[in-house]
Subunit: 371 residues, 2 copies
């Protein structure tokens, strides 16, 4: 952790030390409102994914604007949000290991906790842990709707797990996790629609098969920022797990917008400074891959189409400059990260900016909560 | 930060919660000793790069084994090590901005601080800051020896900067920074030798040009884990900035070893658990790209040539399994990260293991020190 803050509330933008992770509060608040409006009056609620921001101040705002709860990806991440007062958390992951289960059931004393399964062994372990600690857990069966990562095949395998869950009283069968990650990043709107079309069919068929056994399927949950309008309009999903919509990033910005897609704004930036300028054709900034995650490609330079971020080393970013006079040593720039989630995970705080001034510093309290 | 530790001293390996960053102390200590032996009795000292580990416990061991000091890449990173008692730090970077300069000169009250320049404006700003705070700074001219990132061209441009530095009494001209980053990762030993051969010539020629003006060039510094035997044997370099040698990683492991190269061992691992096993051909582990940086490619699975880490999502790693029975749900595995530096930067502590037991937890105190 840096021994000093990148800025203080009240500072002008020019006083921000770099690299710093900037949240443009105006754009962020418009994004929050756009998502709330997109779901208002429909039978679909938001369960915002907190893996994107890891920041209690943001989760509390999402809940205040109507989110029924949040998702986390890790038990230790969830613990940070329970501590901050969030009362309903779904860990959108299979949870393996006694240590994690002990922490999970401990959290269930304070908050409503949900978790995924895709194997009978997981159901048994959850039941044992929940019984030992006298708590109830919401358990969702994850089905593979096209991501080919976790999850059982739609249909019979899911029915078997649902039966096993209802046979263990400390567990409550809560529904189906049907998340299609890769579909979020398909560039063409028709490709996203088609991928989610098959996910919806897999979810509908599996729900019918489980209900045919007399087991109610209360919740069909999934979806992300790139595709959620399709899940919302499916008549099958009743919960949306979008996370990145609050920030956006270069990768999501590369999606072509289809009719009906919601236009979220870039609200997350890495502020950086030109630290070396020894060539007419390139400049070096002080934000490299420890400041902006490159797993989904390089960042772009905000509102500077004349500049291209070519490559990242650990602590350096190399920019091409078509015009040698376009950039001077010490110039500040704003980068749009390639991928928001792992970029946020590099920082200890968000420097929240309104207009030309720093308004607040929000701790990224669950940064590094990997367990 | 996770609200709980991955392990406690005295725990057996099986009790480590995952994903966790593991330091194999036996291998680490052998690596420390190998580097010390490689430089013993020569006129070349180690200035170990702390950007790799960000951990005071490691820096103190490096100094105890003969390192003349450490390098840092950021002023805030250096501040963590000054606080931990390190007395000689070179910030191997150009430092831009009043806030950073104020912190840098404050550190120079406690420790010997060095910094790089590649522009007259930086020299002027350093002189002003050092004078205002009545401290001395060691200033190195960075020359471009082939990395094409920061640094002035070898020769006359460096002479001009050296002259400017000696004209400002609070600054001490300390020498030349001649670091060739890309050379570290050239796979063929003869390619690394050739790249460093030109770097050495650039350094020698620049030193001569500066000394011809009556300015002594005390230190020629640079080199990294992949190439340092060449700088060591050059007769020109007298300081080595290697960092990764303590840990190694998959990328450095992919270098072909040449005659005379030192065999460092993998000492850094990500311990992970199989969390989903729904397909005969793949398994999912709980360490994704927030647990092992993928900027230099995927990790490998330690001592399991039958397994391949195919792709990383934020919190998931997908492994291919040739034999369906080769992996069971809950199995622990050890990953060798693709790139050690940014992987270490994802964690708050190293779980230090000796044999079959956890011996200590070492805080990665400068993790996230980006400023």
């Amino acid at each position: 952790m840096s021994p000093w803050h990148a800025a203080r509330p009240g500072d002008p933008l020019s006083a921000i030390d770099t690299p710093a992770l900037i949240l443009d509060l105006h754009a962020f608040e418009r994004n929050l409102e756009r998502m709330a409006a997109a779901l208002r009056g429909r039978n679909v609620r938001l369960r915002a994914h907190a893996k994107s921001h890891k920041c209690p101040q943001i989760a509390l705002r999402q809940v205040a604007l109507g989110a029924g709860g949040i998702c986390c990806q890790k038990v230790s991440e969830a613990a940070v949000f329970v501590d901050a007062g969030i009362k309903d958390i779904l860990v959108t992951n299979e949870v393996m290991g006694d240590v994690k289960l002990r922490h999970l059931v401990a959290l269930a004393r304070t908050a409503r906790m949900g978790v995924l399964v895709d194997h009978p062994q997981q159901v048994q372990a959850l039941a044992t842990a929940a019984q030992a600690h006298a708590v109830t857990l919401d358990v969702y069966v994850e089905i593979n709707v096209g991501a080919n990562r976790c999850g059982v095949a739609p249909g019979e395998a899911a029915v078997q797990l649902a039966r096993q869950i209802v046979a263990h009283p400390p567990l409550r069968f809560a529904g189906l996790q049907c998340y299609h990650g890769p579909a979020q990043h398909l560039r063409a709107p028709q490709d996203r629609a088609a991928a989610i079309g098959s996910a919806v069919e897999a979810a509908r068929m599996t729900r019918q098969a489980i209900e045919a056994c007399g087991i109610a399927v209360e919740c069909i949950t999934g979806a992300g920022t790139g595709s959620f309008v399709h899940e919302r309009d499916s008549g099958v999903f009743n919960e949306i797990q979008a996370g990145s919509y609050i920030f956006m990033d270069r990768d999501y910005g590369d999606n072509q917008r289809g009719e009906g897609d919601i236009a979220f704004e870039h609200a997350l930036f890495v502020r950086t400074t030109v630290m070396s300028r020894t060539s007419a054709t390139h400049a070096v900034v002080d934000a490299g891959l420890k400041a902006s995650s490159v797993d989904s490609g390089m960042p772009t330079v905000w509102q500077r189409p004349d500049l291209r971020y070519l490559k990242a080393a650990d602590e350096h970013g190399v920019l091409s400059t078509a015009d040698a006079a376009a950039l001077a040593l010490g110039d500040p720039l704003m980068l749009v990260p390639g991928h928001c989630d792992p970029t946020v995970n590099l920082y200890d705080e968000l420097v929240c900016v309104r207009g030309e001034q720093v308004e607040a510093l929000w701790p990224i309290a669950a940064r590094g909560a990997l367990l």
